[in-house]
Symmetry: C2
């Protein structure tokens, strides 16, 4: 990958919120309304972070009805040469979401 594009991707990853989004997506696909309660920031803020990650080809989006699900673009992460082993475990966040009934996968059933 060319240097400028590689730098852009790394800069997109170089924010605690976006990096945690990557860590979350590393466990399972998420939609915006699942991510919002995890972070203490507004829905538009999350939306813009996702947009930034999408522009850097780090995630892809997939609309399912009302919801837009985001997935990791593992191919791109591999091309950047970034391993995901170092990312923190996010089981606790998903557990909390489930307890609060905020997992969209529950609503879908």
């Amino acid at each position: 990958m060319e240097l400028k594009k590689l730098a852009d991707a790394l800069k997109a990853l170089g924010d605690p919120t976006r990096l945690k989004i990557i860590a979350l997506l590393n466990m399972r696909d998420c939609c915006v309304c699942e991510l919002v309660p995890i972070f203490g920031i507004s829905q538009p803020a999350i939306s813009k972070h996702l947009s930034r990650l999408k522009n850097a080809d780090l995630v892809t989006e997939n609309r399912k009805g009302q919801w837009v699900f985001y997935s990791l673009n593992r191919k791109q992460l591999h091309e950047i040469g970034l391993g995901l082993v170092n990312l923190p475990d996010c089981s606790a966040e998903f557990k909390k979401l489930e307890e609060q009934g905020l997992l969209v996968s529950c609503k879908e059933d």
Copy 2:
């Protein structure tokens, strides 16, 4: 590594100038006056980029007389989980420096 620190390191890498500095240091240690002519920017600008990389533990400095040589902190890069295979080859830059007699290693001899 904790998320905030990992994000800081990635942000430090997320700039074309700093990333190229990393690529150059991946080939050999460099001092500031060698890096300046490679980039089209001022000496203080280079100095600040190096300071930024040092703060992120990505490089170490080592004074040798007048010169301060910077080296990659490969341990830190490994902890971040970033491979260096993707970085561009910089032989041309060093060759040009040598032709112009700007390599400090020449002056030292």
